[in-house]
């Protein structure tokens, strides 16, 4: 029957149309993929910064937010054009492997030691993060570790080490490695009255603070430096080096640095630009 044949044609056309609609020129011309960290995403920095990048350079930046370790691996596979992370030692290793072109310091914020307001380990107000961590360990107070090779996780491990504690040997049931992002770690700490190390940006932007508070801050060892690198186009030919470099150039330009300094939540500045500090 003709009508039935027509109906089949119609269905076929609808199917074809739907598949075509699945790919509506989604390949935008001027776009790059930036592998970055959960802290930059969860702190809301990118939501604020990317429209400014677009306005200035015309580049659409697609941010994949992962832990620093995973973000660097995404770069290693050639799946990102730029990596924007915060673990200097891991970044230098990335460069040494020839995976990155050059590392540019961009900004810093600091880590803060968060814990329940009841503060079972009694660390509130301590100026020495080493003493605070020692107190937590001695009291076997619950501590949440990111455990995901992120920049924050790397920094946490470095802080234990700097405090003279071999955490691999000292950890017990009180030390919970969750293998998730910063927000999840804060949620877990809040639910279980545990201590947790967070970057300040994520903490300020975090909405579910409830019984959690900053207990220790200001120790110089809790300094958190962010760096940005173009993935090496010689290793990965698909890297959009011009657009990627233009993004980096904007970040470290006076205009970009000023924009970063201007990102505030409730009047509180989250990141401190320091691109001119070549040693950072």
């Amino acid at each position: 029957m003709l009508t039935q044949f027509n109906r089949r044609l119609l269905i076929a056309a609808a199917i074809g149309g739907a598949i075509a609609a699945g790919a509506p020129a989604l390949a935008q011309d001027k776009s790059i993929v930036v592998a970055s960290t959960t802290s930059t995403q969860d702190s809301g920095l990118f939501e604020y910064l990317l429209p400014l990048v677009k306005a200035k350079t015309g580049i659409t930046v697609k941010v994949i937010s992962q832990g620093t370790g995973q973000a660097l691996d995404t770069g290693r596979r050639g799946d990102a054009d730029v990596v924007f992370v915060h673990a200097k030692s891991a970044e230098e290793k990335f460069l040494a492997e020839g995976q990155g072109v050059k590392r540019y310091p961009v900004m810093y914020n600091d880590f803060v030691l968060i814990g329940p307001k009841s503060d079972p380990a009694g660390i509130k107000g301590m100026k020495d993060v080493g003493k605070a961590l020692t107190a937590i360990m001695d009291k076997k107070a619950d501590f949440i570790s990111r455990g995901d090779k992120s920049g924050t996780h790397v920094a946490e491990l470095a802080l234990w080490k700097a405090s003279g504690i071999d955490i691999e040997a000292a950890k017990g049931p009180w030390y919970k490695s969750i293998g998730q992002g910063m927000g999840a770690a804060l949620n877990t700490a809040g639910a279980g009255n545990a201590y947790v190390l967070s970057d300040r940006g994520t903490w300020i932007h975090y909405k579910n603070k409830d019984q959690l508070a900053v207990l220790v801050e200001g120790d110089k060892r809790m300094f958190n430096q962010y760096g940005v690198m173009l993935v090496n186009p010689e290793k990965h030919p698909t890297v959009k080096k011009d657009l990627g470099q233009a993004f980096i150039d904007y970040l470290i330009s006076p205009e970009g640095q000023k924009a970063i300094a201007n990102y505030k939540i409730n009047g509180e500045q989250l990141f401190y630009p320091n691109a001119e500090d070549r040693g950072a």
Partner: protein, 230 residues
């Protein structure tokens, strides 16, 4: 979607960001169901009508794949589409197309397995009649699929439910890029990690409402179709 907003406000004010996310969620999941149906329905129907050594094993594996962990499917597609992977030159990683592919992988076993069961039951009923009408193998598949169409709607809905609800696969292959590959489920995951639980649960309710709406439409269409075609 920043600041002190609730999901209800976003819905009521017609927030373009929210609508883009909803639109992408539907586009990805419905496209995946469509692709999975194009693969899974004929495959399931063929499996129902053929007998070969190892068929029982294929059915068991197919049924088991209905429970394929999304994160595993996502990882497999990620490794396939990564620039360092075999299909890296296509440049599909972190695009909606990659998300459709990953969800197609998740949904196809569901549709194929349910189709096989449905068609096999119908085959038992139709077998003699189609043999008497001297219908060939391809005609049998076509006839059984067409006559099972109202039951197969349920298989498609099961597949859609799976696709619309999962986050593990699409967050890996899509990257949860704001305005590009962010869907309802990845947005919910993000808001949860930001600690904005009220917005996260609000978005969850919006997602559930959409899924209910789609199911209601499908149910209505099925009822109307059955009334017309018996």
């Amino acid at each position: 979607m920043t600041g002190e907003t609730s999901a209800l406000q976003l819905v009521l004010t017609g927030d373009p960001g929210l609508y883009a996310i909803v639109g992408l969620s539907l586009l990805v999941s419905l496209s995946a169901v469509l692709c999975a149906a194009l693969i899974g329905v004929p495959f399931g129907a063929l499996l129902a009508l053929t007998r070969f050594p190892g068929r029982a094993g294929v059915i068991v594996v197919l049924n088991a794949l209905m429970g394929l962990p999304p994160v595993v499917a996502g990882l497999a597609i990620y490794l396939l589409l990564s620039r360092s992977g075999p299909l890296g030159s296509l440049g599909l990683l972190f695009t909606p197309q990659a998300m459709i592919i990953a969800q197609t992988l998740l949904v196809t076993p569901i549709i194929a397995a349910l189709t096989r069961q449905t068609v096999e039951d119908l085959w038992a009923e139709y077998r003699d009649e189609l043999a008497a009408l001297d219908v060939g193998p391809i005609g049998r598949v076509a006839t059984l699929v067409w006559d099972a169409r109202f039951s197969l709607v349920t298989a498609l809905l099961a597949g859609f439910g799976r696709a619309a609800a999962e986050v593990g696969a699409i967050i890996i292959v899509g990257g949860n890029i704001d305005g590009f590959t962010r869907t309802m489920t990845t947005a919910i995951a993000l808001e949860t990690s930001k600690g904005d639980l009220p917005l996260a649960i609000g978005l969850g309710l919006v997602l559930i409402a959409i899924i209910i709406l789609i199911n209601a439409l499908a149910w209505g269409a099925r009822r109307a179709g059955e009334r017309y075609a018996g």
